[in-house]
């Protein structure tokens, strides 16, 4: 909750308030500046003629001082003397404000002249006053004349300065008026431009703040319309809009993930259905091949039983044994097709098959079994009809051309989990021969399930063998729901072949793909048991009914 809190300075409210404050401040500053400058200009205009006033005051004071001096010299009254000194001081104060430097300006030099002359005048006046007080008539008269002369000069210069100041001030006044009008126009223009600038800032800022909302609403509309492909990028804004945008972005991501998982689930289900159909197709294909190859196996199986009984009655024990083993072999085939069986049953089926071939080939087939006693053959379940096709291949393709020296070995031994790739305890079944061997290409062809053309160039054989091996591998993978359970090893032509089948011991491995309690006939197919039973029921029910049919 704390994490989602919007910082004070990042909130839309604060930012809008700040933008408005900046805009107001800008416009206010422009107004203040314009007002201040106008005010200063007006003040300047008011001050333009102040210098004339100073000069006129100076002339008045000078006149008064001269009058006071004349009065004192005439009457010798103390009041006039007092006035003279007062005005003398005033004169000094006023002339102190005048220029006293040599500068390149005629008016300022006039000021300097007036200042100097006034000082001279005051000195001479003082002389006259002192002479009058000392009753030195000649001297005070001469000093008064001299002072009067200077008074005249000063007045002339004051008049000149005043006139020229007035002319200059009038010019300044007109110039100031022009400047003031220009400043007024510039102020107005400045206020307008700054206002427009401020409005633009306002518009840009508000757009930057609110703009993403428009995009968000557009995206929301599209999502509402079912379009989840809409792209709402994450916002870097830390305000409310940014929070909403990021939340929407997250929500959209979650929806997409959910949809994806649903799609994967559906795809998985479809894959399972495909597996089911594939298994069914394999079975049907094998059955079809078998049925094509055998004419009425039930009839043959029943006939073999009948022949066995006949031989027993006639005392032909070997014939009876042969027919009996044949009948067992075919019974097993018919009974276990499409289901699973104990490893012992598979090995027994191989034994029967070898026995039959040895009868056919007068005992030429050399067959050895190396069964590890630690392996519980009865409890070890596996798909049926796995070992017999492998052994059949070893005989037909491995030692076919050299039965006398050829030998087929069936070995069963346990493989601990740490010694195999599957990571579980397994039973390894190895069918090896010392026959013609296989090329790498042939092995790869089988393992890639593209047939065993190289191993069996004969078209008819290629079909049956290829289908058999592919069938074996597929059923193993489907049964255990694993790969790499089947492997072929050969050093090349003439070096024999070794086929290895790994049977995982974990019963759960099998059950993971189906459900516990299923019958052995549907383990590993991924098909619902009831469906399998229904599909195979016609065949199986016939087998069980007759119990003497034989199929391969």
């Amino acid at each position: 909750m704390k994490k989602n809190q919007i910082r004070f300075f990042a909130s839309v409210q604060t930012r809008i308030t700040a933008v408005i404050a900046i805009v107001l401040l800008l416009v206010l500053s422009a107004n203040v500046v314009a007002f201040r400058v106008s005010s200063e200009t007006v003040q300047q205009i008011n001050q333009v003629f102040a210098s004339n006033a100073v000069i006129v005051n100076l002339a008045d004071t000078l006149q008064t001082a001269q009058g006071s001096m004349y009065e004192y010299l005439s009457t010798k009254s103390s009041s006039s003397l007092e006035n003279f000194y007062r005005y003398e001081q005033e004169l000094r104060d006023q002339t102190d404000g005048l220029n006293d430097r040599n500068v390149g300006n005629e008016l300022l030099m006039l000021e300097k002249n007036i200042r100097s002359m006034t000082q001279s005048y005051l000195t001479v006046s003082e002389d006259a006053i002192q002479a009058r007080r000392g009753r030195n008539v000649e001297e005070y008269k001469a000093s008064f004349a001299r002072a009067s002369e200077l008074f005249g000069y000063i007045n002339d210069y004051i008049y000149t300065l005043n006139s020229r100041r007035f002319a200059q001030n009038t010019e300044n006044y007109l110039s100031l008026l022009r400047s003031m009008r220009a400043v007024e126009r510039m102020s107005l223009l400045m206020i307008l431009v700054i206002s427009a600038f401020a409005l633009t800032i306002c518009a840009v800022s508000v757009r930057a703040m609110i703009g993403p909302l428009g995009k968000l609403s557009e995206a929301a509309e599209r999502v509402a319309g079912g379009d989840f492909s809409v792209d709402v990028p994450k916002s870097r804004q830390a305000d409310e809009v940014g929070v909403v945008t990021n939340a929407f972005h997250k929500m959209l991501g979650s929806i997409r993930t959910y949809i994806e998982s649903q799609r994967a689930s559906l795809e998985k289900e479809a894959q399972m259905k495909e597996n089911e159909l594939s298994m069914e197709a394999h079975l049907k294909e094998a059955q079809l091949k078998f049925l094509q190859a055998q004419i009425n196996p039930h009839f043959l199986f029943n006939s073999l039983n009948a022949g066995s009984q006949l031989a027993m009655m006639e005392g032909a024990d070997r014939t009876e044994l042969f027919l009996s083993r044949m009948a067992q072999f075919f019974r097993y085939n018919v009974k276990k097709t499409g289901g699973d069986a104990a490893l012992s049953e598979e090995i027994a089926s191989v034994d029967n098959y070898i026995y039959i071939l040895n009868v056919r080939f007068s005992g030429d087939i050399h067959y050895e079994k190396q069964i590890d006693e630690t392996v519980d053959l009865e409890q070890m379940r596996m798909p049926s009809m796995i070992l017999q096709p492998i052994v059949e291949n070893a005989i037909q393709h491995g030692i076919h051309d050299d039965h006398e020296n050829g030998i087929v070995t069936l070995a069963v031994d346990p493989v601990p989990e740490n010694e195999n790739e599957s990571g579980t305890d397994c039973v390894r079944i190895t069918v090896s021969d010392n026959g013609t061997g296989m090329t790498r290409k042939q092995i790869e062809a089988i393992m890639d399930r593209s047939g065993i053309e190289a191993h069996s160039p004969d078209e008819e054989e290629k079909d049956s063998t290829g289908i058999a091996m592919e069938n074996v591998i597929s059923r193993l993978e489907l049964y255990y729901n694993r790969k790499n359970l089947f492997s072929i090893w050969s050093d090349g032509p003439g070096t024999g072949t070794e086929v290895t089948v790994l049977l995982p011991k974990e019963p759960d491995t099998v059950r993971k793909n189906g459900s516990e309690g299923r019958s052995g006939s549907d383990y590993g197919t991924g098909i619902r048991p009831d469906l399998v039973r229904n599909k195979l029921s016609s065949t199986e029910e016939k087998d069980y009914v007759s119990d003497s049919d034989s199929r391969r």
Partner: protein, 342 residues
């Protein structure tokens, strides 16, 4: 849209800067009217130019002197000019004393007590340099001008070239401001020059007429009387530019061109035109540049060293209609050089 907004912001920003710039410019323009003395050039001295004569020649001399002052960091002011009162040179000197000037360049006008005023100024530590007219018995520290011996010789030489056979009436217009001694010296030198150089059969009778150039219209009246009087001179000698201009105008007005030869003084536009039209045969002129330069130098030297040469000689030369064009060209070049330097 976003581009438009940015463009608008840029344009408005630029306009704002422009407007603010103009605003500041106008504001500064207004403020400059009230500028103080801080940015003004300062001068180390303050000299006063004292002359009651405001003729073209004195105005030119003032200009040249002011230029020389400017070059040496001195502010030169024409005392009493542009004021309502009219002051004599003596009054101006008193005025300058009251102003506590650093030095004075005085063109004596023959006013009373001029030597006394110079003495008062000198007593206040203010040196005075006289120009063109000397007051030798005063406390002036130096005189910058022409020697009347030279002037007499020069005028005599010009007279010789103008004398016709027989008796020649020559009238010398003197100025009330000229000292009697100086006038007498000039007169004597001229007579001596004629005596020494005049060919046989050519004689000269020289008389003087005094013109008070301080009084308005006096020059024109005196010259009219001289030219229209019973004893009309064959040659009229003027000693300042105002007399010369009046004489030229009188020659034209009374149709006396060719009958009366006028030896002028100084060069003004009118005098130069008269020369080029050959209304007058010759005019004498002084080197105003040298006059201005030397007078300022004399004051500076005195103020710095406490002593200075008492006499700076300025050359006087004659301009005839033949040399008038060359003189005019030189003046134009000098004016244009001065403007470029300015």
């Amino acid at each position: 849209m976003r581009k438009f907004v940015y463009l608008m912001a840029v344009v408005l920003g630029f306009t704002g800067i422009l407007v603010i710039g103009l605003f500041i410019r106008y504001r500064n323009q207004a403020m400059q009217l009230d500028a103080g003395t801080d940015n003004l050039k300062t001068y180390r001295k303050h000299y006063l130019f004292v002359s009651s004569d405001e003729s073209q020649m004195l105005r030119d001399i003032y200009e040249k002197t002011a230029s020389a002052c400017e070059r040496s960091g001195v502010w030169l002011e024409w005392c009493g000019k542009d004021t309502p009162g009219e002051y004599t040179a003596s009054q101006c000197i008193d005025l300058s004393i009251a102003m506590k000037a650093d030095g004075m360049i005085v063109y004596p006008d023959g006013s009373e007590d001029l030597a006394g005023a110079i003495e008062r100024a000198f007593g206040q530590g203010i040196p005075v340099v006289t120009i063109l007219r000397d007051i030798p018995d005063s406390d002036r520290v130096s005189y910058v001008g022409v020697s009347n011996y030279q002037v007499g010789d020069l005028y005599g030489g010009q007279l010789l070239s103008l004398l016709h056979n027989g008796s020649n009436e020559v009238c010398l217009l003197t100025d009330a401001g000229d000292s009697e001694n100086e006038t007498q010296l000039l007169y004597t030198q001229m007579v001596q020059a004629i005596k020494n150089g005049a060919p046989s059969g050519r004689t000269m009778e020289l008389r003087t007429e005094s013109v008070d150039s301080r009084t308005d219209f006096d020059a024109e009246e005196v010259i009219r009387d001289v030219l229209l009087g019973k004893e009309r001179p064959d040659i009229l000698i003027c000693l300042n530019s105002a007399q010369t201009e009046c004489a030229i105008q009188a020659l034209i007005d009374y149709n006396l061109v060719g009958e009366v030869q006028v030896i002028g003084y100084y060069v003004t536009d009118q005098i130069l035109q008269a020369l080029r039209q050959e209304l007058i045969p010759v005019t004498m002129t002084i080197d105003t540049d040298a006059l201005g330069e030397d007078s300022v130098q004399a004051l500076n030297e005195y103020l710095e060293l406490g002593r200075v040469s008492s006499y700076y000689n300025i050359t006087l030369s004659g301009i005839t209609p033949v040399t008038a064009a060359r003189y005019q060209q030189k003046e134009k070049e000098a004016v244009s050089d001065g403007e470029e330097a300015g």
